[in-house]
Symmetry: D2
Subunit: 343 residues, 4 copies
């Protein structure tokens, strides 16, 4: 018997990826799909990639009641909107993986600073677990509410945490220069997301301080105890998927850093530390749930670290399924690919 699952916000890019993963999952099955603006249509009419019987499922309204059988809810909704759906699902005894930003912070105060809105359900912060799987397994397994990390923080924290724990990093000069595919901007009809505006062009955005900077700083300290200052600049690239984060770092004993990272992740199926001096590409991870990390020592005290993920997988739907696997005590990698869809 597969575990029945609901996906709220099924018609965005992350929702589409959740459908693909759950339909190919050995232990979960889709029982309910909801969408704000497309309710009443068949999933396949809104999602061109959706096939099989799921394509014929009717999209429920966002606030339609959840089927009783549903045990797990993925919320892929805009921030502020998600929290109410999360509260509602929890109150019915469902487990929830929330892919919005609503529970990624430890307090409503930081949330409001980053998102400039009041939080609708601050009382839930206490039970939310920040689901950076490799560093939060036990807590994720024990909770009913996982806040799925943002894509930029995932690609940044995975390489940073082991180095922060080792105490070798200058915590005041961490520069994070990230490059993201356009799918990270979502599926809304805006002029600046048109094909001809994004194609063959690159730009920085989100200045002077992108929301994910708060999340990075909060959890770098949260996982390691070290307060850090991060200077973060995101860019949007002419590609659909993929995120590459370049970390410009300083510190001591830089020759040990590669070994520290390699050891930290040697048993992890979804984090791969490349051989010293080798650098990853996003093409090598897209379609997989992997994070590939490369390290280049560039000075006596200076190191460049590059990490790559698929922003819709390890950066969203993939890590959400990995968290769900942990919450239901399943094989952590069930339904997830270690191989990219390459080329």
């Amino acid at each position: 018997m597969k575990i029945p699952v609901a996906i709220l916000g099924a018609t965005g890019y992350t929702g589409a990826e959740l459908i693909r993963l759950i339909d190919g999952h050995p232990h979960f099955t889709i029982a309910h799909l909801a969408a704000h603006s497309q309710a009443g249509k068949a999933a396949g009419a809104v999602l061109p990639g959706c096939g099989g019987r799921t394509a014929d499922m009717t999209l429920a309204a966002a606030d339609a009641p959840l089927p009783e059988a549903v045990q797990l809810v993925f919320t892929a909704l805009p921030h502020a909107a998600a929290a109410t759906s999360v509260a509602n699902a929890l109150s019915q005894g469902k487990k929830v993986v929330d892919l919005s930003a609503d529970f990624r912070h430890q307090s409503a105060a930081v949330y409001q600073q980053a998102y400039a809105v009041e939080h609708p359900c601050p009382e839930l912060f206490q039970q939310a677990v920040y689901g950076l799987c490799e560093h939060a397994r036990d807590r994720v397994a024990a909770t009913s509410l996982v806040a799925n990390p943002g894509c930029y923080p995932t690609s940044t924290l995975l390489p940073l945490i082991p180095l922060l724990k080792a105490g070798l990093l200058d915590t005041d000069g961490i520069i994070v220069d990230s490059k993201s595919g356009a799918s990270g901007a979502g599926r809304s009809a805006k002029t600046d997301l048109l094909y001809c505006e994004i194609n063959e062009s690159v730009k920085a955005y989100g200045m002077p301080r992108h929301r994910h900077a708060w999340e990075m700083e909060e959890w770098a300290e949260g996982f390691t105890g070290s307060p850090v200052r991060i200077r973060f600049v995101p860019h949007i690239l002419p590609m659909t998927r993929g995120m590459l984060t370049t970390l410009h770092l300083s510190g001591k004993q830089v020759d040990r850093w590669h070994a520290i990272l390699q050891e930290a992740y040697s048993d992890e199926p979804f984090v791969r530390v490349l051989a010293a001096g080798e650098l990853p590409s996003t093409g090598g991870v897209c379609g997989s749930n992997r994070c590939d990390i490369g390290i280049s020592v560039v000075g006596e005290h200076e190191v460049v670290i590059v990490s790559c993920i698929d922003n819709l997988l390890k950066g969203a739907a993939g890590q959400a399924v990995q968290n769900a696997n942990l919450m239901f005590s399943l094989d952590e990698g069930a339904g997830l690919s270690v191989h990219a869809t390459w080329p």
Copy 2:
């Protein structure tokens, strides 16, 4: 116990996709990877998308002996080179799915016309089965050698065969205008395949007669008994994957064609006939093993049919696995996705 499988020609684009599919397959497992020019290296060093333990497997030489345990061999080698490896594997009692063109024809004579080389093993033609799964299930299940169809013929024959069987098509004026992603041209270092030459550009090629025209005509007749004449023009597009074939057709009772196709494929998991008037996109099938077909009646006797596949999946590695599933009496869809990796 999973069935041990060998992949010969593992480092091309089709080989990479076979590795991904077999590693995610519930009943097959990779036991042997061979590659002509990269022998001795780890798979992951040559294939950036390859992860997990397979990335550490050493690539054997193309002519290295096959492990005894191997029961199934995929040959993803250039034409003319593949035939000898196929013969060798068959002589050791292995089953073979050949992804090259070497056994796609019914005689050496047609092969030589299309490929302008002598066939190294003409005696094997008799046992080869042309593996267009939806129309050759029983024969595929009963043979040891499947010739996996070419990508252009797959996207052309799937819509044509039911209409030819119904006898409603003008068989003398079939125009096939195909558009393919660049991965179909393979992974060789040629100037005209460089990023800057393909990007933001489209061109026709293979004129006056592309090799796949013979294959289309031979099997259109082979599956239906109707000799046909096909005028085929392929184009290369600035995208990695995907193939869209536009069929400009004439015939009678054109209002029945949609129903004929819909009925022919109503039970097929990997062929989807869209609602009348709707047209597919390659984005909607890439990453899946699906063929999506759309029909538009444009005149009293004239119809445009558009079919879409992922050239590396239903057009190559996906159909190869579908054939392998049939050869081993497994669930035909095992290890294959009905969902595209979209967007």
Copy 3:
């Protein structure tokens, strides 16, 4: 003294290209820029590619009075909206090149069939000249109103006209399969034009009969006297610019066709007939005002012709400037490039 020019509809993709061409033109200068929804802003604030002093020009409202000095008006407005602006400019004694579809037909009746709206100024049809420059020089030079041809018709008519004149073409079986970059769809914020929906995907659209089919049939006959039937299927490709049209043709004396085309265009700076058997790419024409044509004889009576243009140049702004040059008795190629911006 340069001739002062106005551009109405300056903030779309065609408008942007007109600005670039006029600012680099030796005999024209921009005196007035108008835009429907962005009036009051600086041109550079809406058009990221716009530089120099023009970037600081304020966009006038669409219905703002034209400066008296203006002698020439380019209207790059939506169909139906353009006609009124055209009438207004003509009444003030300006010359007009209209890039909309409003005057591309010879009568309001055909226009209404193709565009399904009533024509606001049918009385102007009589003075409008269809500006396919290479075949309408004298008429263009003598008129005040040029209807700039559509992109699909331009790429189709240039190769067809000389063959129709020679009387060697089967006029009943002309199949036109066109592939266009996404800029042809314009700059409006629609979900299906988002980067992630267009990228890495191709689709057909406009079925069962695209508006440009009427234009093609009307002017094939208009320029040659031969009524023709055209079956036209357009596709949208993952590239910003460029249009490739594949003509699947039949007729007699097919070995003469290459010579006929070569002779027809031997003195034309903006039409290049490639050597026999060679086929063009859109990459080879984008950024230029050229149309490249390739011919491949594929049967005793069958020929494939491929033509390539930049849809925003020879298919829109470039041909508009070429027409303007003719209207003012300037060098026909002034301000236009014979070289593509390649790669």
Copy 4:
């Protein structure tokens, strides 16, 4: 009478762009085209974008004698190979703009450090002028040999120089994170430059120290007197053209920086400082010779500066023509566009 010009290395991407610019230039004309491996062919047979009469010009061998009439030579050859051709042209009394790296340094010693080859003509260093036009006008006008700056250094030095001169920049912590289109890697048939390897992927390369880092540091000091340390990481993006450089900077009086840059470039046609807080995109400069610069103050002492150029224009052929204009006392912007070819 136009000035006759030779282009050596005409068949690479930079050579193609030089041909386009010179053919559209009011005062220069192409008299000689040479190419290493394609000698004897017509230019148009090797360069698909090349049109007009130039397409019919025969490519001379790389070492063919230069026509006597030629007054100016552009050398677009690989480093180390270029120097000999430069020496040869100078000895015949021609002026030279060298687009290779051979004369970008002030001494053979630094050159050998960066390029790991011995310099063939170290005696020429003394007369070479580093042609960053906006900061070297007088010296360029007075010399016969201009070393055209590299693309990464151009995009880095233009924003840095005014700030270094003002003495407000921490010179020890300059981090330069650059993103380049694939055309910067040239036109050689390498597997890692294939369409399917570059498309939909981004990677860093050139670690631990890219050759252009030496050039940046040398000329930052050369133009300002301040020694600086630059940490430089370049990336290759899935686009043909365009380069975006993100400068992560620290210093004092950061609120004055925008005004300093705006004042420094207020009269420059090819450098545009955007309004405070606005950030440029490469799409907004490609096809033009512009460098767009945006500034965002992100902390009390911290600033992010983003600069964009077309790597083949302001980063190569465009700046080369700008230098040539200066060398012949022509209008500095002759033959160059301030508008991007957008979209």
